[in-house]
């Protein structure tokens, strides 16, 4: 992660904090910034943020762990999020999720051993009339059956 960066993690975190100077209640925007920069929110940022924002480390830790989005470890190269909301369930989302788990050999929230694919569940992508819906590396896809999911994962892998 540090390849190409001469700055220390602490300095990079401080730069993100500075970029949000003057914003009210800025911890969430800062954490989004950290995740965008590092790909996850490392434990090492907790004391830096606590000091910069003048709040306790427990407060920072509490916020990071409350929200599903903030990852403790980097995701795989391809991140697949399968919607398990009711509207997608009505058109076979549970079947699709079971297929993805079998195909990848991982459970929800896990990454394949080589670090290729992370499989996540998500409750609603707002595409409820065109389910089952899946997000692959942030891009939304509708009407995804098992074959289409395999194709999408293969395409993402080839990139």
């Amino acid at each position: 992660m540090t390849v190409g960066h001469s700055l220390s993690i602490e300095d990079r975190v401080r730069a993100i904090v500075t970029a949000h100077d003057g914003e009210r209640g800025r911890l969430l925007p800062i954490l989004h910034g950290i995740q965008a920069e590092f790909g996850y929110v490392d434990e090492a940022v907790v004391p830096v943020l606590a000091q910069e924002l003048n709040i306790s480390r427990a407060d920072v830790h509490g916020v990071i762990t409350f929200y599903h989005d903030f990852r403790k470890a980097p995701a795989g190269r391809t991140e697949v999020r399968v919607c398990r909301g009711e509207a997608c369930q009505a058109v076979g989302a549970e079947n699709l999720m079971a297929h993805a788990q079998r195909r990848l050999g991982v459970s929800t929230g896990e990454t394949t051993p080589g670090g290729d694919v992370t499989l996540e569940q998500v409750f609603c992508l707002g595409n409820c009339a065109l389910g089952p819906s899946v997000q692959v590396n942030g891009r939304l896809y509708g009407r995804v059956g098992t074959e289409r999911l395999d194709t999408l994962m293969a395409e993402a892998d080839a990139r």
Binding site: E23, R24, G25, R26, L27, L28, P29, L31, H32, D59, G62, V63, F66, Y67, H68, D69, F70, C83, R84, G85, E86, A87, C88, Q89, A90, V91, G92, E94, N95, M97, A98, Q101, S107, T108, G109, Q121, V122, F123, C124, L125, G126, N127, C128, A129, L130, G131, S133, Q135, G138, L140, Y141, G142, R143
Partner: protein
Amino acid sequence: MSTPVTVYVPRDSAARSVGADEVAAAVRSAADRPIRVVRNGSRGMLWLEPLVEVATGEGRIGYGPVRPEDVDGLLAAGMLDGGDHELRLGLVDELPWMRGQDRLTFARVGVTDPLSVDDYVAHGGLAGLRRALERTPAEVVEEVTASGLRGRGGAGFPAGIKWKTVLEAAGPLKFVCCNADEGDSGTFADRMLMEGDPFCLIEGMLIAAYAAGATEGYIYIRSEYPDAIDTMRAAIDIAHAQNWLGEGILGSATNFELFVRVGAGAYICGEETSMLESLEGKRGMVRAKPPIPALSGLFGKPTVVNNVLTLASVPMVMADGADAYQARGVERSRGTQVFQLAGNIARGGIVETAFGISLGELINEFGGGTGSGRPVRAVQVGGPLGAYIPASDLDLPMDYEAFAAAGAMVGHGGIVVFDDTVDMAKQARFAMEFCAEESCGKCTPCRVGSVRGVEVVDRIIAGEDRDTNLDLLEDLCELMTDGSLCAMGGLTPLPVRSAMRHFSEDFLARDAGDRTGTAGRPVPEDAASGPPAP
């Protein structure tokens, strides 16, 4: 041939999810004469996406659903002149789906270029704000109250009364917060409005800010909506450049700054006090009420908190007057509601129409029944915390009070259709599982009750002491309803109890290896096994 033909290809993320970007690229590269491609919002006929429209002398002619590989054939058939083709739908405004609606909040969505200032003003934008600025804040509050507009986020609280409380609260700093954490499955209207007509939301927030005396606003958008986030941010920048935001708005003495904040995957942050905590940079833990947010909201200041569609309805209310809005609807449900047809539905999408339409009309006449072609068995209205309604009750009118009387809720008008392969015990289990996953953890009935709920449903499904466990589940539901701090734990029993009441046969014991319900209905393989562990 010097004037380029305007071709519309939606930029809405639902349209993009089925290939709108690829279609737009194909049209651009294959067109044999100058064209202007507008990436509009979606008309809400999602089963027709990507829906391509061509501006002709007689109006906008639609083609859909278009795949990239269809584009060459469409162009050869003279699509740019509205030529005939098997995908040609005719004049989009004349399609029965569109004609049957009464689009107020969604009047511009799908019609205009979402980020075009000229389009916005040419289609009635800013009329409401200008009319509001000519009145006193108290008069604006009065007008919104008189319109009968109720909160579209689900609770249905009268918007004007909330605004009045904030207006009358003392203090130099007040906020307007837009709840765009549209986490309920089966709802996508907030997203479509933000992607398709972002200035409308900004205008609504401006009117709310003027009426309540607020100078700063936040739109809290869930992170699952990256397109809506980008569009709103771009619209805010444009609005600033137009002096629709900032200081001395439109030459008045009104100042208002507006910011987008992004959620982080917590469903509970759609609850208003949890959202306020999140905006303050904290865990999204629900607050006890009172104090109400109108008096002590964001950072303890008086705060208007409204849903996207509530705020986006305000410009029209102010432009056309309270009477025009009030004239629509039934009983105490006035105006229009933006219904969303979702799940197993042949024609899913947006139906904006006056309150009072029946669930059956929406599902069968607009929606065309299930997508699978099998009979409708259950319909969940109002999101994951809404009741399951059996097919026999589809004559229920869409009206807050009529739904409440039937033990259900209209909520935000999201309608999720299930066909006859659905296993309702499994849906009841999911309601509890979802609550366990998404509870903020502050109150015990929700945090612990939901976990116990999953276990009890599992025992019922396994046939262990069925009657005892059904009683226990009923007891647990009662406790969660009465004892929870907010709607998460308080309403999770609604889908569970409605499933037990209307679909009791699904809760009968199944022998190991018996994959059918006792009514002899086949249960598909994926429905018979429990959902994967979270």
